[in-house]
Symmetry: C2
Subunit: 181 residues, 2 copies
């Protein structure tokens, strides 16, 4: 295993409500000194929840995505609040975004977005045994919930509004899990 | 289909070498006005390349990832330069990062990272029929190339240094493609 580069200096370049950009000066094991910019994660990370129904469908949400300025289909996601557990955050986000809780919640894996320059972590949670429960979120409009049968999987992958790498990876993982236990 | 929110105002909050943060004022179809922050993509997007060998292995790279401050395994990636085609960028990045070109390059799909607040697009390219060809990149240290047999797929998914959602999604897609054509 290679020795990790040494962080010689770090300082904040910009900080907004949502983003925190930092510059690093690094010395690699071979002596090369270089500068990197990275986005620090402003929170304890995020959850991505895959609600799986007994009939073999998953629940997606269709939401306005400001980064690409269009409506996108994806799994529901949300930030973990300070001090909140992963599964508690998943449950809260479910009740806010799709009006359901779940009796069974399971942390499947944790993913990064672009580890080269973003520190952000997303925890994938599988939710089963759903029941109606709604709490108030801060969404500007009601979120459309879209059930999608897992056996129409490849059709979903071809859609132009299902592009998020985290949702694609989570979809494959859950399908694998359902097929092979 | 819902009517898209109207962008009432937009202005730059911060701009660094790598990042451009913008604030949007949006009015949703239901009349609600709200503010969003987003990261604009500074370039024509990025490529992620999956080099597939005749023996059924893919080539990964092990690289220092400043966002998470550790070495990570992933598929090779790089920015598309101004005016450059997707496949040309994929080929250039291959020669810089793993010292190989490819006779066959195919654009498989395009993914987003976190479309709610990041505009960034990544184009997944499958590369076959590799041959040695090296050009000089700007990497601070030599990149370690790690061949991985596709049939040891689930072992890769369990590794703590293979976490990038784009690479996980691309791995599943390429495996699907190899299995079902």
């Amino acid at each position: 295993m290679r020795e990790k580069p040494q962080i010689l200096k770090r300082h904040t370049l910009a900080r907004t409500r949502l983003f925190h950009i930092e510059e690093l000066e690094l010395r690699f094991a071979n002596g090369v000194v270089t500068h990197y910019e990275r986005l620090l994660s402003p929170s304890a990370g995020a959850v991505l929840v895959v609600p799986l129904l007994e009939n073999g469908s998953v629940l997606l949400v269709r939401e306005y995505a400001a980064g690409v300025d269009r409506y996108e289909l994806s799994f529901l996601k949300g930030r973990i609040e300070a001090g909140e557990e992963i599964l508690a955050a998943a449950h809260r986000e479910m009740t806010e975004e799709i009006g359901h809780g779940a009796l069974e919640l399971r942390h499947i894996t944790s993913m990064t977005l672009a580890p080269g320059y973003i520190g952000h972590q997303t925890h994938v949670v599988l939710a089963r045994q759903l029941y109606p429960e709604r709490s108030q979120g801060d969404e500007p409009e009601e979120i459309e919930v879209v059930p999608w049968p897992l056996d129409r999987f490849s059709e979903l992958l071809k859609r132009e509004d299902f592009t998020e790498a985290r949702s694609i990876a989570a979809l494959f993982m859950i399908r694998e899990l359902v097929q092979h236990g």
